[in-house]
């Protein structure tokens, strides 16, 4: 194992160690917990940067973990430029979240109870979350990847349920884990199919093996179920908006660099399998387009500021999966990285707003521009990047996705041309809607008159401000990195030898179209707001507004089609199990006792009847003896 592989292997180990020690700390040791959490994330960041700098060619190192019959499970790393870049993004966001949390979870002006008491497990769970995501990033084996994948799920469960004051938090946490777990049924089966077919779960072996087309298609579709769950894509996206019940730094962690990114990243890891199955890419394309529009439309009508961002995540991940569907992992990863930067920035800035105002409801905000100028400008950068305002990061990466879709609709990729059209058109529509809701969010929160006269908002203290300010830098500038051959080369390293998207950044006449749509969306929102600065621009949606606000009532559909039938089936099964299966057993027992009692009663006969029975018996035996004697 060379130095690079060692760096890769240490990457998840460092935050894992911080997590294990942190979980054993007494609850009162807040300072130690902060130190451990920050040190774990900082150590991971240092390792990731070192890896990014030293990594030249893809590196693979593994050792046998366990053998099950003829199947080998390995313990190893598989490192390439994309893995190193994603690792840097994960570790950087984790560090920002760890630092930010120390201030955010302190007792604020609006807290009635001490929320700070459980800090050590909280920080340790963030460290574990980071370790799990980094394991997914570097893992060279599907089973090892699954370990990180699911540990991340359980950490999200624990962290979403962290805030004990919110009565809806436990339910949201359970929902987040269960919905993703349902997707993971498919993920496990897909992994099993590939592993059984290749005889090994090592990613290199799985990719090198010549799977039958049926296996590849089935495994690809099954893996997509897991991807949809983790990356919150239709139809398994329902957990993500509810997950907003978690503390805001956790939302930043889940939405920016970990968890939701894992699904997209996993597809790029196994890209050759997907590239060779147009059916799977077509399904992915439909999933992506539906999620993209669904998320964007749902974001237009939310009042809770975090929910706007949550739905925008669904929509933005839709761009990434769309890029994958049209055959361009580099475009997907580029958008993943810029999204990690601007979404982390947005959540942490929104956290500062919520911290200052004491509510997440936009109808009680407004006019914060003057009292919170730093946060305002950071939000402007973040929302601009989200909407795709040039030259902010989101513009370039979204441009890359649209260019890849254009390539595909011209027949230049592994996906069918209609998938290219679908992603291209929904992507363009999405640009306009994104601009609309981003403008609305900015106007409702920071401009106009203050709607809550009691609040005395102020810019956050340094420990909250610095992570936000530092994240604003990549959110603004990361897109320009696409012009750097060094950066582009690393992102393209996963895509060696495949078709499509040879460049990362596209400058050309195509840029005019999304820019025009961007202006259109922003102008519509602004025009609506100008008419009445106190009213919600979402009123323009008319009768569609409640539909969008409840995201087409898909939650109710899920509840009616899955949750309620399952619980009813549980109750029915319990009743059958207790009455029929166990009833048969106790019935047998009771029957045996009754039979015994009956026979006993028969034997307790009075003398005449007993004598008669005895004589009858003697007669019978005598008769039988005589008969047998006669025949023999």
């Amino acid at each position: 194992m060379n130095t690079t592989a060692l760096l890769g292997a240490l990457l998840p180990v460092v935050p894992l160690a911080a997590a294990l020690v942190g979980l054993l700390l007494p609850f009162a040791r807040r300072r130690v917990a902060i130190g451990l959490g920050v040190a774990g994330a900082a150590g991971a960041l240092a390792l990731a940067v070192a890896l990014l700098v030293t990594l030249v060619d893809p590196v693979e190192a593994s050792t046998t973990w366990i053998r099950f019959g003829g199947l080998t499970v390995t313990l190893g790393v598989r490192l390439d430029g994309a893995a190193a870049l994603v690792a840097v993004a994960v570790a950087a966001v984790a560090l920002a979240v760890q630092v930010y949390s120390t201030g955010y979870l302190e007792r604020g002006p609006h807290d009635d109870v001490d929320v700070d008491r459980r800090y050590p497990p909280y920080a340790a769970q963030i460290s574990l979350f980071t370790a799990a995501m980094l394991l997914v990033v570097v893992s060279g084996d599907l089973i090892l990847l699954l370990v990180g994948w699911e540990v991340m799920g359980i950490c999200s469960y624990l962290l979403i349920a962290h805030d004990r004051r919110l009565s809806e938090a436990p339910a949201a946490a359970v929902k987040a884990f269960l919905v993703t777990r349902v997707g993971d049924v498919g993920f496990l089966l897909g992994i099993a199919l590939l592993g059984v077919s290749a005889g090994s779960f090592r990613i290199a072996d799985v990719l090198a093996h010549d799977h039958s087309i049926a296996t590849r298609t089935a495994a690809g579709l099954l893996l997509l179920a897991g991807v949809a769950g983790k990356s919150a894509q239709f139809p398994l996206h329902t957990w993500l908006p509810d997950a907003m019940a978690g503390p805001t730094p956790i939302s930043a962690l889940i939405h920016a660099a970990t968890m939701v990114a894992a699904g997209v990243y996993a597809v790029t890891r196994l890209w050759p399998l997907f590239a060779a199955t147009p059916t799977v890419l077509a399904v992915l394309g439909v999933m992506a387009s539906v999620s993209l529009l669904l998320g964007a439309l749902a974001a237009t009508a939310q009042d809770d500021i975090k929910r706007v961002l949550a739905w925008s995540t669904v929509s933005q991940i839709g761009y990434m999966t769309g890029a994958l569907a049209v055959g361009s992992p580099p475009a997907a990863l580029f958008h993943l990285l810029t999204h990690a930067a601007f979404k982390a920035l947005l959540f942490l800035a929104v956290g500062a707003v919520i911290h200052a105002v004491g509510t997440a409801s936009m109808s009680r905000m407004g006019g914060l521009r003057h009292s919170m100028p730093v946060t305002f400008w950071c939000m402007v950068i973040g929302l601009g990047a989200l909407a795709g305002v040039p030259p902010l990061s989101g513009f370039w990466s979204k441009e890359g996705v649209l260019a890849a879709a254009e390539d595909a609709l011209l027949g230049g990729g592994p996906a069918p041309a209609w998938v290219g059209w679908l992603v291209f058109l929904t992507g363009l529509v999405g640009v306009a809607i994104t601009a609309w809701y981003a403008t609305r969010l900015l106007l409702r929160t920071f401009l106009g008159a203050a709607r809550d006269p009691l609040a005395t908002p102020h810019d956050p203290p340094g420990v909250l401000r610095w992570p936000v300010l530092l994240l604003a830098v990549p959110a603004a500038l990361l897109g320009l990195a696409g012009f750097s051959p060094w950066f582009a080369g690393r992102l393209l390293s996963t895509a060696a030898g495949e078709l499509g998207a040879p460049r990362l950044v596209h400058v050309g006449p195509l840029m005019v179209l999304p820019l025009a749509l961007l202006l259109l969306g922003a102008a519509l929102a602004w025009a609506g707001w100008r008419r009445d600065t106190a009213a919600d621009p979402a009123a323009a949606l008319g009768p569609l507004r409640p539909v969008f606000a409840r995201a087409f009532r898909l939650d109710d559909v899920q509840h009616a089609l899955v949750v309620r039938p399952t619980t009813a089936l549980g109750r029915a099964t319990r009743a059958v199990d207790e009455r029929v299966v166990d009833g048969a057993v106790t019935g047998t027992g009771r029957g045996a006792r009754a039979l015994g009692g009956g026979l006993g009663a028969l034997h307790r006969a009075a003398l005449p009847r007993a004598a008669a029975a005895l004589l009858a018996g003697v007669l019978l035996i005598g008769l039988a003896t005589a008969l047998i004697g006669a025949t023999s």
């Binding site: 609850f27 973990w65 366990i66 053998r67 099950f68 019959g69 003829g70 199947l71 459980r118 497990p121 089973i143 699954l146 370990v147 994948w149 699911e150 540990v151 359980i154 469960y157 624990l158 349920a161 004990r164 009565s167 938090a169 436990p170 339910a171 359970v174 884990f177 269960l178 777990r181 349902v182 993971d184 049924v185 496990l188 089966l189 099993a192 199919l193 592993g195 059984v196 399952t566 619980t567 089936l569 549980g570 109750r571 099964t573 319990r574 199990d577 299966v581 166990d582 057993v585 106790t586 027992g589």
Partner: protein, 536 residues
């Protein structure tokens, strides 16, 4: 007698002599200490079995038997009946032997600190040791008749533990409930034993030997005999494992048994069934196993789904955990039913993982019920506010039980599914898909459990707990004397040293087996492959 043979005898003799010594010691606490020491020595002997195992392989001829024990001891026992006292240990039985010895030690140690109401601690520890002798003997026996005898030794002491120390409260209804549960357990498993006896008789009569080493592979048994023998043996082991729909003794027994009884019942007693299925039923009648495998697979998957669904609607803490065993053992049985090396290995590690995790869960459930005096999920909530450490451990155990990758439970369940996929064909693939959905249901009911018990506002039963360590029985029930606290009658919410000592090994093992499955499977690969060769 070699060192290995000495160890084999020691593993059985130490707990047996320990039980006698405990029974003969008049002072209660001293007797419990003696019992714990005996259990500890047994564990040391069991662990030592793994040493010095190389070399045993070369002792066999060109066609080695399918069972190649590391150490074996073969003595004539009743020459007139051709009964032999044949013991041996190999990679299939050793992990279970160690698990049994460990769990018994933890139970004895726990009994040093707390004896459930109902009887003397001395008698409880003595019975625990007798149960241990029976279970260890079952895992070590290489003679069918001996196997049967040890299999039966377990029954009555466990009945006594359930009826003597089980249940909650001493009112007539509680006494009646635990008597009924004990009776059901004894009669139901006795019914299984009768089938086992008939099965053993069929095999021994047809083959002319009771030696498991010679019998493995089905040599000398006609196909018809193998089918009959497998059906009888599999039914007997299915009752013990338990396999749906022969499981209904389990929820009552596990719920009514005292904490240490539940731990042993779920932790290792059930494993006698699955171990017997692998070693005896599949080994002795492979043709029968191949014939019945689809039925076994269907029932195993039914067990997974039914167990999970019932848990989803369950309202009592211990009963929920008890029913979860039905689902988890379903995965183990699915692994066995595939009759592949992958599946059998998954079954072995699933066995051990279930013993560790469910043992821990029953310890924790017992601790919660002891403190709050209720197990109803409707009366428990907000535990993480009042007893954060206890609730953290419960969360860990539940997460381990839902087969989170990286913890012990994952390997058995995931690879049972993988094995079913490996078997190929639409039938086994369907079973794999259903079993995988069962895994999602498992997560659903365990998270429901956590949500009910640990989240939310503390319920009155939970809020009554005082912060601090739980006192010894003398303190329990007396008003608190510490300043600042009102005189509350109740238990403390913190953890006692004895509890931590009993739980820490299980927590560490759940993590260690999850990270290094080779701890269990490293020794099992060779014997499983040998078994596979005779199955072909």
């Amino acid at each position: 007698m070699s060192f290995g043979q000495f160890l084999l005898v020691a593993v059985l003799a130490v707990p047996a002599l320990g039980a006698l010594a405990v029974a003969a010691t008049p002072r209660d606490r001293a007797a419990r200490v003696i019992g714990t020491v005996a259990a500890a020595l047994t564990l040391v002997a069991a662990l030592a079995l793994v040493a010095d195992r190389a070399g045993a392989w070369t002792a066999y001829g060109p066609t080695p038997p399918a069972v190649r024990p590391w150490h074996s001891l073969d003595l004539p026992w009743v020459p007139g009946l051709d009964l032999r006292f044949h013991l041996g240990v190999d990679g299939i039985s050793w992990p279970l032997v160690v698990l049994t010895a460990l769990l018994t030690l933890l139970c004895c140690g726990y009994s040093l600190w707390r004896v459930p109401a109902g009887g003397s601690g001395r008698a409880l520890v003595a019975l625990l040791l007798v149960v241990e002798v029976g279970i260890l003997g079952t895992f070590l026996a290489l003679d069918l008749v001996l196997f049967f005898l040890f299999f039966e030794v377990v029954l009555l002491p466990m009945y006594a533990i359930i009826v003597g120390w089980g249940g909650e409260g001493s009112d007539a209804a509680a006494v009646d409930a635990r008597r009924r549960a004990g009776r059901k357990f004894a009669l139901y498993t006795l019914f299984g034993s009768v089938l086992l006896l008939v099965g053993v008789y069929v095999v021994v009569a047809a083959a002319g030997t009771a030696d498991i080493v010679a019998l493995t592979g089905g040599a000398g048994l006609s196909r018809g005999t193998q089918l009959a023998a497998f059906v009888l043996l599999a039914l007997a082991f299915a009752v013990k494992s338990p396999l749906w729909p022969l499981h209904s003794w389990l929820p009552d027994a596990h719920t009514q048994a005292p904490t240490v009884g539940s731990v042993l019942l779920a932790g290792v007693l059930l494993k006698m069934g699955t171990y017997g299925l692998i070693r005896v039923a599949v080994g002795v009648a492979p043709a029968g196993a191949r014939w019945a495998a689809p039925v076994l697979g269907v029932l195993a998957v039914a067990a997974i789904l039914v167990g999970s669904l019932v848990c989803l609607a369950q309202t009592e803490l211990k009963r929920l955990i008890a029913y979860s065993s039905v689902g988890h053992m379903g995965f183990v049985l699915l692994g066995i039913a595939t009759l592949t090396a992958t599946g059998i290995q998954a079954a072995l590690i699933g066995n051990v993982a279930h013993g560790i995790i469910t043992g821990l869960l029953f310890f924790l459930a017992g601790a919660i019920k002891d403190r709050t005096r209720t197990g109803a999920l409707g009366e428990l909530s907000g535990l993480r506010d009042v007893a954060p450490r206890l609730s953290g451990l419960l969360a860990f155990a539940a997460i381990a039980s839902l087969a989170l990758p990286g913890l012990a439970g994952f390997w058995g369940e995931a690879f049972a599914v993988v094995a079913a996929i490996e078997s190929g064909g639409p039938f086994w693939t369907t079973l794999a898909v259903l079993a995988a959905f069962g895994g999602a249901l498992t997560a659903a009911y365990l998270l429901r459990l956590l949500r009910r018990v640990t989240h939310g506002r503390p319920s009155p039963a939970v809020a009554a707990l005082r912060p601090g360590l739980p006192g010894d029985p003398a303190v329990v029930g007396q008003p608190s004397e510490s300043a600042g606290h009102p005189a509350v009658v109740g238990q403390r919410s913190g953890l006692a040293g004895a509890e931590l000592a009993a739980w820490a090994p299980l927590v560490l093992l759940a993590l260690a087996v999850g990270l290094a499955p080779a701890l269990v499977l490293g020794v099992a690969e060779a014997p499983v492959n040998a078994l596979m060769e005779v199955l072909r």
